[in-house]
């Protein structure tokens, strides 16, 4: 192997944060024009390797070479100068600007500093490579996460990046969008671009990557060609011992006649939902099965009182709700929502674990408005033990926790006081296998405890395996109900695609 074959050479790199060694003796060669996967549990250090190559972190020890040039200065700007671009888990776009302005941010067509025409032509040229079907004039703030990610990728390609690091690129994409991303990666590869692909989705990795580095506890376990790897072989290396992906056993479904916790009849909203009829009983886990943009999160928001219901009826515990329904009222009636974006919508990162856990149930630990801190500590401690939150500190800085532990803190907020209906929107997105398992167990525990659960996930396998019943959604409508004990992922997908083929479109949605 000669030096010119290697795009990025990482040798003996170590990185510590305040005494914690997060990377230790990392040695990886990323070959030019290859798609190289980094896999491992959350906290294994795979994102950190990406951030070192991308210039976001500087290495404490060891060397990084890019196309034979040793890297001396670490900054995203310097990395970009060397042809390395990083696409983040947390996307970095300017929300108030349009797609076009974001793609060419910093490289606008100009004459001596004055903007001039030409960006649009360049954008269309880029679209030929990318084929994302994005409207250049849409404001980023009006786009969904999946769309924003495409903009990030276009931005990297517009900068003629030779190495693109993608951190969890498919975590918010539908299967179909992920396929399109993978086709794009194929085209990039044909142009000799190197892709460093950090992901939890082993299926995607196995199908699309040439090589793989498995990491555990900040160390490289092994680097191999992808040929011959299986999901199980990767998982075994990640965990260090043989283990299986197991779904927890569901409690028995409640009888049909049991009173419903929530019931919607022919509900429509201004957010694009129409003709939504659903019901959830105590002890039942109900899945919303659909692709991104099918209206799953909107149903959650309507149930939670966050969006106004314009037509139809909605009742909680048999009590019909009126237009005064608000989040505060919904919470007071026992509805809980674990939102999709835990950092933006779920946690107060300026605060430590304890107040985050208490936030939704302050009333029950206070008398006359004064918080009983002893009780609060006890409760938080109980939750930390219940979920196995690490670090196990009542006053831990949540802002610095790993994704899985942040998610567990967020779940604690609704677990300290049993809600009547627990709505979970993407509960295991971006968390490691261990945390994911724990979260799945938690969902089942809640149902066994008599809580009605509504589950939303982009991973169809997850929704179907964890639900008693499911509603199939497309285009803001529920078009079918299914028994999840007999439904398969293939069935579900086929039915969704058939529905999309037959039904007239309600509004402009992502082209499939």
């Amino acid at each position: 192997m000669t030096g010119t074959d290697i795009a990025v050479r990482v040798r003996g790199v170590a990185k510590s944060f305040g005494g914690t060694r997060i990377l230790d003796d990392i040695t990886i060669d990323f070959k030019k024009g290859s798609v190289h996967a980094l896999v491992g549990e959350n906290g294994a250090g795979k994102s950190s390797v990406g951030k070192i190559v991308g210039g976001y972190y500087s290495a404490d020890e060891g060397t990084v070479e890019v196309f034979g040039q040793p890297v001396t200065r670490f900054s995203p700007r310097d990395a970009l100068g060397l042809g390395i671009a990083m696409i983040h888990q947390e996307l970095q776009l300017v929300p108030e600007l349009t797609v076009l302005e974001n793609v060419f941010l910093g490289l606008e067509s100009n004459t001596r500093g004055f903007l001039c025409k030409g960006d649009l032509d360049r954008f269309h040229a880029l679209e030929e490579t990318c084929d994302f079907g994005l409207n250049p004039d849409t404001r980023i703030a009006d786009m969904r996460i999946a769309e924003r990610q495409k903009v990030e990728i276009m931005r990297a390609i517009a900068r003629d990046a030779q190495v693109i690091i993608m951190d969890e690129p498919t975590s918010s994409l539908t299967e179909d969008e992920a396929d399109r991303l993978h086709q794009l990666i194929g085209r990039l590869k044909a142009r000799d671009v190197t892709v460093i692909y950090v992901s939890h989705f082993l299926d995607h990795i196995i199908a699309n990557c040439d090589r793989v580095t498995v990491m555990r506890d900040g160390k490289v376990v092994r680097t191999d060609e992808m040929a011959g790897e299986t999901k199980q072989s990767l998982v075994d290396s990640m965990l260090g011992e043989a283990s299986e992906i197991i779904w927890p056993k569901l409690p028995a479904a409640p009888a049909r006649h049991i009173a419903r916790v929530v019931q919607m009849e022919n509900v429509a909203t201004e957010t694009g939902l129409r003709d939504i009829s659903l019901q959830v009983r105590p002890g039942e886990i109900v899945g919303l099965i659909g692709l991104v943009g099918s209206g799953r999160s909107e149903v959650a928001r309507a149930l939670f009182g966050a969006d106004r219901i314009s037509e139809g009826t909605y009742s909680i515990m048999g009590v019909q709700q009126d237009s005064r329904l608000s989040v505060t009222r919904a919470v007071a009636q026992g509805i809980a929502l674990v939102p999709e974006d835990r950092r933006k919508q779920g946690l107060v990162l300026t605060q430590v674990t304890r107040p985050n856990v208490s936030l939704a149930s302050l009333g029950s630990i206070a008398s006359f408005g004064f918080i009983n801190k002893t009780r609060e500590r006890e409760r938080t401690q109980r939750m930390i033990e219940h979920f196995g939150i690490v670090p196990a500190m009542v006053d831990g800085e949540v802002a610095f926790y790993s994704g899985g532990n942040q998610q567990k803190v967020l779940l604690s907020k609704w677990a300290v006081e049993k809600p009547r209906l627990l709505i979970l929107d993407e509960p295991s997105r971006g968390v490691d296998i261990g945390a994911r398992q724990r979260i799945h167990e938690f969902i089942v525990e809640m149902a066994a405890d008599g809580v009605a659960v509504l589950l939303i996930s982009s991973e169809l396998e997850e929704v179907i395996n964890l639900s008693h019943r499911g509603y199939l959604m497309d285009d803001g409508r529920i078009f079918a109900e299914a028994n999840c004990r007999t439904l398969t992922v293939e069935d579900a997908l086929n039915r969704i695609f058939r529905e999309q083929g037959s039904a007239p479109r309600n509004k402009e949605v992502t082209q499939l």
């Binding site: 005494g19 989040v327 300026t350 802002a399």
Partner: protein, 321 residues
């Protein structure tokens, strides 16, 4: 693993959070020692109490403003509310009843603050713009009340608040201390305080936790108005004169003190006692200049430089988001 994480935290604490948490106290300590060495008149109970007494109105505003800023808001109308409360209290003290005047000032402030909060949440306009506008309106009201003239208020039943003492200690200082303690308790021990932190730290998360964020904001602005009203009454009672232009520029001094105390302008983090420390720091600089007889031109300059340093230190240590 958990011990390693503890290390991470204590290390972070030692760099930025320390500067943010105790930086203002360190500077105060340095100033106290320095001024005591330079002048023997400085470190006397009388001088120190005097400094506290003079800063009491500003410190009271800073306490309540801390809540507004932690809640993610901003209040530029405290100076104007101070003015309205001053002239209203003066007028009531003369024409109605001096004791009533003492209660009327904070009450009027509370109402004006509530108006701020209702406009901000009702129309969804940024608090910076709303309070900038209402400060002009309130100042106009203050001028209308008095026709632009001064109201002398020489009534013993009224001036005890600003001038009286219990033993050696000024009543205004006692009011300030009580006010500070109440606000510390409010912020740290009550559900309301917790909600203020949540609203400023992540409003979306607070909404999705069932918190009535608009109500929380209205309450912070009302309390801030109430504090400005109380401060106005103390000032009038002290100088026995109500003037419509009283408190001009005070809103900026209060904001400076809160920032100096390390409360995050982004919201979600901060503490009441540190804002009071911020006020004291500015007062000490002032006092030092008087004692040393230095050209007062350097006073603002020095205060400004210290604010910049304090803010820069706090920013370098807090990359939370």
């Amino acid at each position: 693993m958990s011990t390693a994480q503890t290390n991470t935290r204590s290390n972070r604490m030692s760099v930025g959070d320390f500067a943010r948490e105790y930086g203002v106290l360190v500077i105060i300590g340095v100033l106290l020692i320095g001024l005591s060495l330079i002048s023997e008149n400085f470190l006397t109970a009388r001088n120190l109490l005097n400094i506290l007494n003079q800063s009491a109105p500003l410190a009271i505003i800073a306490c309540a403003l801390t809540l507004v800023i932690i809640g993610g808001g901003f209040d530029l109308s405290t100076g104007a509310i101070f003015g309205v409360a001053s002239v209203s209290a003066g007028w009531i003290a003369i024409n109605v009843d001096p004791y009533l005047a003492i209660f009327a000032g904070p009450l009027i402030g509370l109402l004006l603050g509530a108006v701020n909060g209702i406009i901000i949440t009702g129309f969804g306009v940024h608090s910076f713009l709303v309070t900038l506008a209402t400060s002009l309106v309130y100042r106009g009201i203050a001028i209308l009340v008095t026709d632009g003239s001064l109201i002398p208020v020489r009534i013993a039943e009224f001036s005890w608040l600003g001038r009286g003492r219990i033993g050696m200690v000024n009543i205004a200082v006692i009011v300030l201390l009580a006010f500070m303690v109440i606000f510390m308790i409010l912020l740290n021990r009550t559900t309301f305080g917790r909600r203020v932190y949540a609203v400023g730290g992540n409003e979306e998360a607070a909404i999705l936790s069932g918190i009535r964020t608009n109500l929380v904001k209205i309450m912070t602005f009302s309390l801030c108005g109430m504090a400005a009203g109380l401060a106005g009454v103390i000032a009038v009672s002290r100088i026995s004169m109500a003037e419509p232009q009283a408190g001009t520029g005070m809103e900026f001094e209060a904001i400076a003190a809160v920032i100096l105390g390390g409360t995050s302008i982004m919201g979600g983090a901060g503490a009441v006692w540190r804002s009071v420390a911020g006020v004291l720091l500015m007062a000490l600089i002032n006092n030092g200049f008087n004692i040393l007889n230095v050209n007062p031109f350097f006073k603002d300059l020095t205060t400004g430089v210290i604010i910049v340093i304090a803010v820069a230190l706090a920013a370098s240590g807090s990359r939370r988001r």
